[in-house]
């Protein structure tokens, strides 16, 4: 073989491989970005939520969007449909940052379908840098209307390889895993079931206290104040102001009393109260925004059987605060905000001797 022929042979294989893989990726569309899967059972898994959500936002039919972090992942869209009387879609992301939530909301809003947003706000996400992505290779190219940069998805053979393995396992080998149902795809209750229960939560909390130094928690709280305002002005306010016709229900994610004890013992509870006050003051003039605060509710504070760790709760809590959207049980008003803050403070102080 001549060197010339050798070169053309290898180069052709290299070019052909690229095109074949690209076409395959486009046809299979493993994250269903271009279209919903029709010839196979899709594999939808929380590990790929940042890749799957833009496609869901573009291709599903809905009027209400559910966003937030893992705390919101168990929110059942069917329940939301029933309570709010509109079709909904769950676009939560595990470990979501405020920027990531803003981006998925903007993607959904650009479709023109969104009338209502149910935003489960984990106050800890306000600690992150306003420009931060949780993963280093966040697929920004999926979150815009530019068709040219979709090339980066079509040429993402790594994703094709990983997801195809799962799709083959689910479809041909009939292995369970992931979900074909968009509505329950991110629900983690089944996986975490063995971790639920008062005894387990208390035991792990005590062990975590030994491992996690107080200094670390203090640093977290300082970050809440340092980055909180930046997140509000960069990732929250512009979105709320730019979409006055969309109704936003922002629900502060509840946590167990153990979580608040950690915060209190590190001297950070004031910061949480202050940031909630700031949020309330900022939202006051916005008629399309309602704040909901179930954080000082007794059951949510003390029913440790409903927790799998100090922060993550069962879907029954999700159902409760979704139902409360119409009953206004947790709606924040000028009067209730002070009451809720002092109650959270009192309950935490009262529990200091109970949980050591």
């Amino acid at each position: 073989m001549t060197a010339r022929r050798w070169f053309y042979l290898v180069a052709s294989v290299g070019v052909a491989a690229f095109f074949v893989l690209s076409i395959l990726n486009y046809c299979i569309d493993p994250i269903q970005y271009f279209r919903e899967a029709s010839f196979y059972r899709p594999y939808i898994h929380g590990n790929y939520c940042r890749y799957i959500n833009p496609g869901m936002a573009k291709n599903r039919r809905y009027e209400t969007v559910i966003v937030g972090s893992s705390y919101m992942a168990n929110t059942d869209p069917a329940m939301v449909d029933k309570v709010l009387h509109t079709p909904s879609v769950n676009l939560t992301m595990f470990g979501a940052t405020m920027r990531e939530i803003r981006l998925i909301l903007e993607t959904a809003i650009r479709t023109g379908r969104v009338k209502r947003v149910v935003w489960g706000l984990d106050l800890d996400t306000l600690m992150d840098d306003p420009d931060m992505f949780r993963i280093p290779d966040f697929p920004l190219y999926l979150y815009d209307d530019n068709p040219w940069n979709d090339f980066r998805y079509i040429a993402n053979f790594d994703l094709l390889f990983k997801l195809s393995r799962e799709i083959i396992a689910v479809n041909l080998l009939h292995r369970s895993g992931g979900s074909a149902d968009f509505d329950s795809a991110y629900n983690w209750m089944e996986i975490k079931k063995p971790f639920f229960g008062r005894e387990q939560v208390l035991r792990r909390w005590k062990r975590a206290q030994e491992l996690k130094g107080r200094a670390e928690r203090n640093a977290d709280t300082r970050r809440l104040m340092a980055n909180g305002r930046g997140n509000i002005t960069t990732n929250l306010l512009p979105l709320l102001r730019a979409n006055p016709s969309i109704r936003f229900d922002i629900i502060y994610m509840p946590h167990s009393i153990l979580y608040w004890l950690d915060v209190y013992r590190s001297g950070g509870l004031d910061a949480y109260v202050r940031i909630k006050q700031e949020l309330f003051e900022t939202m006051k003039g916005l008629n399309n925004v309602t704040l909901h605060d179930p954080q000082s509710d007794s059951a949510m504070l003390y029913d440790l059987d409903e927790y799998c760790d100090t922060g993550h709760f069962s879907e029954s809590f999700n159902d409760r605060f979704i139902k409360a959207l119409t009953t206004h049980e947790f709606t924040v008003t000028g009067q209730s905000i002070e009451r809720a803050a002092s109650r959270l403070m009192e309950e935490t102080k009262r529990s200091l001797d109970v949980y050591r």
Binding site: T2, A3, W6, F7, V10, F18, D158, L160
Partner: protein, 486 residues
């Protein structure tokens, strides 16, 4: 733009090579070299155009100093020529010092100041360590009268030659200039193109399939250094030792492969370094062009081994302190360099004893010495390095798989413990894979040896295509090359 990106592989490289030879044929040498220079600027500026301007400024200064050094009117006036040389070197070292060491200097100064100074947080222009050294070598060679022909475009296309610009090899002007003077290099040469493509595919495979898969073990280990135990710590250090080698030698293969397509043979940079039987041997095999630079432009000008025993040893230590600080602005790098220098001094003592060390033992000691020293190279602080090293020495206890405990009849746990999760990351299979990779670096032929036996045959085509296509699947996960940070 990285070598391991679609843009480079499918667009930039084919266009730059084909237009280069087209221009050579149609418009001659000068047009082709201007094209090559333009491609290099695009390649460099893709990262940050501002730094491309800085790079151009650096080249302009060095070219001007080079012209001044060549002027015949200075013949016989050594002091003037030496002054020009010093000015040139000071500019290069000054630029490098400003961008790379200012914050390091401020940090150290703050230890003695009552009011600490704010760090400037200057971002490091990519490749500055490499292009500074390449241009210093050029000035010194010109001063010594060995650099050859120097037209403007010759110089620009040499100094900015994109395959080498970010991480070397550190090339001498004379080497490239001689090759460009050969008429055969003006024509598209399919032998070189085929060899270049083969080498490039090997390098891509090393980087994507080996180095990038080792990275998580090294990264996790160093990030959680305080939690490491015996097995973890060895997995961490050896993973990094291998990752660094496959990452950097993979990059070098791609650089040499790309340059070959332009009919330029860049010097080899790696020659199975972990097969070295002593530290001197190691430095003849690892980052060879840097070692040559340090030898020719630092060690020998300091006096080398010609000025007595003590001076020889101190010259070795100084040279390796420079090597350490060149790699990074931190005391861990300086210490790494010092320990290499010390190791070389000990090796010289050993040589004088005329004692014989069995080859496997020599290999074992050298590999482990280098492996231990890479811990300082990789660790973010001395305490991280000490954490890893004390765990490697068994001072943080030994954790073994629970099944081993069962096999031993569940002995009482103390220093020796048994757990399901006996490693932070990885398991026995990982250990075996890493062991096989170590064996591969000790037994298998390296890229230079493989390319010497290269023939445009079906076997080599299958090998190149397989390496390329497998890497292609994972290319989107691309990560930077480790040496970009130096």
């Amino acid at each position: 733009m990285l070598f391991n990106s679609y843009l480079y592989i499918y667009v930039f490289l084919p266009v730059s090579v084909s237009v280069y030879f087209l221009l050579f044929r149609r418009f001659g040498r000068s047009a082709a070299l201007w094209w090559l220079f333009s491609c290099s600027l695009v390649y460099y500026g893709w990262w940050d155009p501002r730094y491309a301007l800085l790079f151009c400024l650096s080249m302009a200064v060095n070219y001007t100093v080079g012209i001044l050094l060549q002027r015949e009117r200075w013949n016989g006036r050594a002091r003037i020529r030496r002054t020009f040389l010093i000015i040139g070197i000071v500019v290069n070292v000054g630029l490098l010092a400003y961008f790379k060491y200012t914050d390091f200097f401020i940090g150290n100064l703050n230890l003695f100041l009552p009011q600490p100074l704010q760090p400037l947080r200057i971002s490091l222009p990519l490749g500055i360590s490499f292009y500074s050294f390449i241009q210093i070598a050029y000035l010194v060679d010109t001063y010594r009268g060995g650099a050859g022909r120097k037209g403007l475009v010759d110089y620009l296309s040499f100094a900015s030659f994109f395959p080498q610009i970010f991480s070397g090899p550190i090339v001498r002007y004379g080497d490239v200039s001689r090759q460009r003077g050969d008429a055969r290099t003006t024509l598209l040469n399919y032998d070189n193109i085929a060899k270049g493509l083969f080498l490039f595919s090997l390098g891509l495979f090393k980087k994507i399939m080996i180095a990038d898969n080792l990275a998580p073990f090294a990264d996790t280990g160093f990030a959680l250094s305080s939690q490491l135990t015996l097995a973890d710590s060895w997995l961490t250090s050896i993973s990094y030792t291998l990752q660094l080698y496959f990452d950097f030698s993979g990059y070098t293969d791609m650089a040499i492969g790309t340059a070959l397509m332009f009919n330029i043979r860049l010097p080899i940079n790696f020659n199975s370094p972990y097969k070295a039987r002593n530290l001197q041997d190691f430095w003849r095999r690892w980052h060879i062009t840097l070692s040559s630079f340090l030898r020719d432009y630092i060690y020998i000008p300091l006096g080398g081994s010609r000025a007595g025993e003590f001076r020889t040893y101190s010259n070795i230590i100084i040279t390796f302190l420079v090597a350490g600080i060149w790699h990074g602005a931190g005391w861990t790098f300086v210490f790494w360099g010092f320990l290499h220098g010390l190791g070389l001094v000990i090796h010289r003592f050993w040589n004088k004893t005329s004692l014989h060390m069995p080859r496997p033992l020599a290999l074992f000691i050298t590999f482990n010495y280098v492996n231990v020293l890479w811990v300082f190279f990789r660790a973010r602080s001395f305490s991280d390095a000490v954490n890893v090293l004390s765990a490697m020495a068994g001072l943080k206890g030994i954790v073994l798989p629970r099944t081993v405990g069962i096999l031993l009849g569940n002995p009482a746990e103390g220093y020796l413990r048994f757990a399901h999760e006996w490693m932070l990351r990885g398991d026995l299979t990982t250990m075996i894979m890493i062991g096989m990779l170590v064996a591969a670096t000790l037994i298998l032929k390296n890229s230079n040896e493989i390319i010497e036996g290269f023939k445009p045959s079906v076997r080599y085509a299958a090998l190149a295509a397989a390496a390329f296509c497998v890497s292609l699947v994972f290319i989107q996960r691309y990560t930077e090359f480790i040496y970009f940070g130096f």
